[in-house]
Symmetry: C2
Subunit: 329 residues, 2 copies
């Protein structure tokens, strides 16, 4: 069997998560890594994998069946995905929800013109959580869906905390509020404020001599990031930070609570949850199983941009349709 | 907008669940009910819906876009689904796992010959649980999947209990064992025996003067049904039975516990769970949202037999691809 050749663009936490996922799938191999750094400075875990400058990507367009873009949604992907879809079948994890229609249109145009297949906004949210919102809403039209995130590290909020004067190191955990989850599970379908669904926990290593009360106050009152939430700020030592706060756990819940029956009196609940030891490793694993689907779409000549809603689930598995029917249905 | 015309074959608990689901979906209407009983004896909830003998189904083949078969897997569906796929686009909930490949082949042949679309083995298990086993296994290849059912009524086990001498009324609940679920959630990936995952609870109204000890003994030692499980047998009054045991709740959990990372040391968990006030109403709701997908496949000329693994998720929703991308991703 010929392996699916995967390339990675951007070798940070997510790129490394993708590389680790490739190693767990026998029908895949890592063909190349593209980077904006000096290629000599990047050492993939996988032996023998070439590292190229991303500006030379076009020259290597025939080296990979699928290119997985591991850059950021704010600045990298809006430019990179349409650009690289001119030369490769691509997957990205673009997660700026409000800009997905625009990003879709740009990537669709580029990939249709070049005859490639592109999947955007994959991962777990957007991605698996989107999928579960869709399935659950389609099954229970009279109902209400809730998404809770965490307990897990939010990169955006951690970055915001680190910009506060006097903060040496900092990390922010988004935490779902247990009581809110219980209310939803009990079928009460409330309208929550942001504060009622999530709280925020910050762990800070302060610079020597910094004003801790001022740091705490600045964090808690930060517009949009923290002011609409109950936030706790804990000051810890650098040793504690190293020991307890360098993993990247995450997770969350999509719950739909609905009603069926002659008088719409019967409570029905669908719940999907993730508990992730490492967010980038899990996201890498999601992207990699969709690489299989991209290859299949491309082999069928289905070009243009797709999302997780367009992909028949069987396309994600290395097993044949017959095997899947016999083993998993 | 022209509504999707749905017909139901078999007007028992599931047929009624399908009818109730049609009423919750504005793009659907109930076009006909087919029955093996005398048509005059069947009174659908929906006013004005014609009831026909199932033996006359062929004459009404143009009355419905999709026919939903609501018979039993043991005797009805193996015959009915291939037979009716000659005249209709069909959906069934065939759930005899071991015979799915054979049933698929029969339905595929009939529906391809007649130019129709058929979906088999839909519902929640098989169905949504199958789907979650597939997604989770594809994402976390190094892992182990567990399916727990309940607490809920098992028809097969309830029927078995009712065949015991001296039992006037009886019902059986399959119950997942909390400790086993906790072990899986904690990432220990054990190999369980049947007894370690589920227990069985029976509630019995005994005939007057019946030997209760003999009933309890016969149930607990019944081969395949009960002998491999810890089973409790409670004798209750007919009033208690009417009051507490006429609903048909069910539910369950699909949990995959997997590992990622450089040394496959990072624990990752995907969990899907259902908590259902009424099994037939929920199953009816699942079948009805797939009716939308059958219609779309049929309109595209995609004939033959499909399973839930073949169906792009977007096909289940009344919303357009643009709306879905904007609202749910």
């Amino acid at each position: 069997m010929e392996k699916i050749k995967v390339a990675i663009a951007g070798y940070g936490n997510l790129g490394r998560g993708v590389e680790l996922a490739v190693r767990q799938n026998e029908d895949m191999e890592l063909a190349a890594v593209f980077t904006r750094r000096s290629p000599e400075s990047v050492k993939p875990l996988t032996e023998g994998v070439p590292v190229y400058s991303i500006s030379d990507a076009q020259e290597h367009k025939d080296d990979a069946d699928v290119l997985i873009l591991c850059g950021g949604s704010a600045n990298d992907l809006p430019v990179q995905t349409p650009e690289l879809a001119r030369y490769f079948n691509v997957i990205d994890s673009f997660d700026t929800h409000a800009k997905i229609p625009e990003h879709f249109a740009n990537v669709d145009k580029a990939s249709k013109e070049s005859g490639h297949t592109a999947f955007i906004s994959l991962g777990w949210d957007p991605g698996l959580f989107s999928l579960n919102r869709l399935y659950a809403e389609s099954i229970l039209p009279n109902g209400k869906s809730y998404t809770f995130w965490g307990r897990g590290v939010s990169q955006g909020h951690s970055d915001a905390v680190r910009r506060v004067k006097g903060v040496k190191r900092g990390i922010q955990y988004t935490c779902p509020i247990d009581d809110a989850i219980e209310q939803v599970r009990n079928g009460s379908r409330p309208d929550f404020t942001a504060r009622q669904m999530h709280k925020r926990e910050c762990f800070i290593v302060a610079e020597e001599g910094a004003d801790k009360a001022a740091i705490e106050n600045e964090i808690k009152s930060m517009k949009n990031y923290f002011d609409q939430y109950d936030t706790s700020v804990s000051f810890i030592t650098e040793e504690e930070f190293e020991r307890d706060h360098t993993a990247m756990p995450h997770g969350g819940f999509v719950i739909r609570s609905g009603l069926t029956g002659e008088n719409e009196q019967t409570a029905q609940r669908i719940e999907y949850s993730l508990s992730l030891g490492s967010n980038p490793e899990f996201t890498g694993s999601v992207l990699i199983c969709f690489a299989r689907a991209v290859k299949r779409f491309a082999d069928q000549g289905q070009t243009g941009c797709k999302t997780i809603f367009d992909i028949p689930p069987a396309y994600l598995s290395p097993r044949s349709a017959e095997q899947l029917r016999a083993a998993l249905i």
